[in-house]
Amino acid sequence: MRTNRLLAATALVAALGLAATACGGGSDDSDGSSKNGGSTKGVTLTYWASNQGASLDVDKQVLTPELKKFQQQTGITVKLEVIGWADLLNRILAATTSGQGPDVLNIGNTWSASLQATGALLPWDSSNFSAIGGKDRFSAASIAAAGAAGKDPAAVPLYSMGYGLYYNKKMFADAGLQPPTTWDELNADAKKLTTGGHYGIAVEGSNLQENVHSAFVLAKQHGADWFDASGKPTFTSAGDVAAVKQYVDFIADGVADKGNAEYAQNQTITDFATGKAAMMMWQTASSTILTHGMKSGDYGVVPVPTLTAGATGATGVTSMVAGINLSVFQNTKHKDAALQFVKFMTSTPEQKILNKAYGSIPPVTEAQSDPAFQTPDLKTIGGVLQKSAAPLPQVTNEAQFETTVGTAIKDLFADAANGKSITDSLVKSELEKAQSQMPAS
């Protein structure tokens, strides 16, 4: 009888835990001489890289020459595995359970506090940071998004990204409009630009992470947070409700195509690049926009609007601190070699090469002055990261927050697309449901 595979799967994870008590982690020791403090020459490290490029193969092409360079410099071989975002968190979770993880891995920076709570990642104390050149080399915002406040970071920033408002220059010029700085302006512009199968703005309604990122920024602007100081969820606060309603209203008000409610595969960028939508809020999207045929001079990037022009502090937050971090697995057998690898990847020359390849911004401040990062759009997003970006709540339940609130917004978008009236009470009840599903931390 094929009963309950889920139970078996859950149990399997636990069964792997049994193995974890008996086994160490990390990759094979190729010459047996690479324990902590010993020689690192001849060591083989395993590195799980997250998918940053257009495909896993693109990532391999970008990273392989750099890893060879590292091998030539140090004699340390790096075995690369690029993992898609859909699988990465579960892979890390399984590795945490079994203890059989890679030596070095990429994590999304919003997962930092959650993964930190598992104890699977090496804490970056002052001694570990000094081994890679010091904490001060990194921008303060990117370090703030690398672990819970008051604790040693669980990761080191590798690629930084931030949100900006992308707008179609020609569509704006044709309508005699300037890029908006407030939400009122944006809504008025979007209404003017919504005509004959073209829409003012595109949103990614079924993409849970995108939903949460926008809801976070809007809530900040409405003077609200998603968690209180003790880390308890406060999803039903008036500011959170107003933030979600404002976001969902893009479809309810008809300035975004109702078909956007179904988008989860970055169709937003396609719509923007092909001229179907005049605006979108996205993080460092230039390389993807260009692959869809739009020329770099055809679009502009400005900071995401605020409620009032020139807002500062929390109400002036226009982006979450997006980015990818580099972590070392706690029970690696090759800590010294892993630190050397992190030092290499976060060195100024490598930061320039890698961030150029991925269209992101180096979190290492010294590398940011490179001309490659001085293009108008990257300068705008760099400015946002410096002045008006805030990290997502660094709480242990962050991953659950993304799923539950992201799903609530997805369901509200579906309601809006199906013609249901989006009221404050409906938004509040959906957020209440999301909050009830949050486990106690």
Binding site: L7, T10, L93
Partner: protein, 334 residues
């Protein structure tokens, strides 16, 4: 005297094995009858060991976890997670509290989905099997085409359906709206209320060929003479189906319906591929719901408790079903 007495054990053991004394190892004396009796059990041993390893042990570990507060804090060493007794179960069954309410909602969605999917799969499978009984030109080709959904990899098939169900560019709305003009607007199929029906459609498409295959095999066992005799007595096609075909297929149907029920109730692949980790509220099947509890909210204790409850429900349904069907069979035999 004792020192000169010949050793007894070696020659005896040797003589039993038929080999010269003192040469080989000692072999226990196993009577031939016992050896014959134990052979089937020995042959079953590998299967039993694998069953233990693959199903029973993980299931027991899962049951143990359901009594623990296993969250991400203890994931590195699950044994250190605190015992919480029946707390996880209590939370799951409190239907006036949000978690219990959501679980109950998923349960009813799953029941509705299972009943509809099994009913339609069985109906289409039965109709197709009966139609395929008569010989006609192209029957073999048609039969092969019918089995295609069953032969296709689930992931590839379901992802194709999700393309077809896209609101703007999907084939389903193209046919319904653009070509047949049956709808005034293009409806959503992957979000909102229609997502439930999209799930049922894909599930039926995937399952009915199995019903068709099983019933076609069952039909082979019905003697043609019965139909000929019935026709001579003036029975029409519908009467022949009711009086001959369906009663003769009862043993096949008993197993078929149970298997379809269990497979459909536990189906994880279809909703996961169609909707990802966050299914729409209206199509929130219990399998996805438990996956979310365990692997998305990282609350393995709660997820395991829900899984155990589901297992108990399925065992109960299976037991009642088998009891009812065997009693009916007993009545019929009598």
């Amino acid at each position: 005297m004792a020192a000169t007495a010949p050793p007894r054990s070696a020659p005896e053991a040797g003589s039993d094995s038929g080999k010269p004394a003192g040469r080989g190892r000692l072999r226990p004396r196993i009577p031939a009858r016992l050896r014959q009796l134990s052979l089937p059990y020995l042959l079953l041993l590998p299967a039993l060991a694998l069953e233990l390893l693959i199903h029973i042990v993980p299931m027991i570990v899962g049951i143990v976890i359901s009594f623990k507060g296993l969250t991400l804090f203890f994931i590195r060493n699950w044994k250190s997670a605190p015992w919480t007794g029946f707390d996880n179960y209590k939370v799951a069954v409190k239907i006036h509290q949000p978690i219990g309410q959501a679980l109950l909602h998923s349960f009813w969605v799953t029941i509705a989905f299972t009943v509809l999917s099994v009913a339609f799969s069985w109906l289409i499978g039965t109709a197709a099997a009966i139609l395929m009984q008569d010989t006609f030109r192209g029957r073999a080709v048609l039969r092969a085409i019918f089995l295609v959904p069953y032969a296709l990899p689930v992931y590839a098939a379901v992802i194709t359906w999700t393309f077809m169900f896209q609101q703007e560019t999907g084939l389903v709305n193209h046919v319904l709206h653009d070509q047949l003009h049956l709808t005034s607007d293009k409806p959503f199929w992957l979000i909102g209320g229609n997502s439930f029906w999209a799930l049922v459609i894909v599930s039926v498409w995937k399952s009915w060929p199995f019903a068709f295959l099983a019933l076609m095999a069952g039909l082979q066992n019905i003697p043609r003479e019965l139909y000929e005799a019935a026709a001579m007595d003036g029975a029409g096609v519908w009467q022949q189906i009711r009086k001959i075909t369906l009663p003769s297929l009862r043993p096949v149907n008993q197993v078929l319906v149970l298997v379809l029920f269990l497979w459909t109730f536990n189906d994880f692949n279809t909703p996961y591929v169609m909707f990802g980790q966050a299914a729409p509220h209206q199509a929130d099947l219990i399998s996805i719901h438990i996956y979310q509890s365990s692997f998305i909210t990282w609350n393995f204790g709660s997820g395991s408790a829900m899984s155990v409850l589901l297992l108990l429900f399925l065992l109960l349904v299976t037991a009642v079903y088998l009891l009812l069907t065997s009693r009916k069979r007993g009545d019929a035999d009598a």
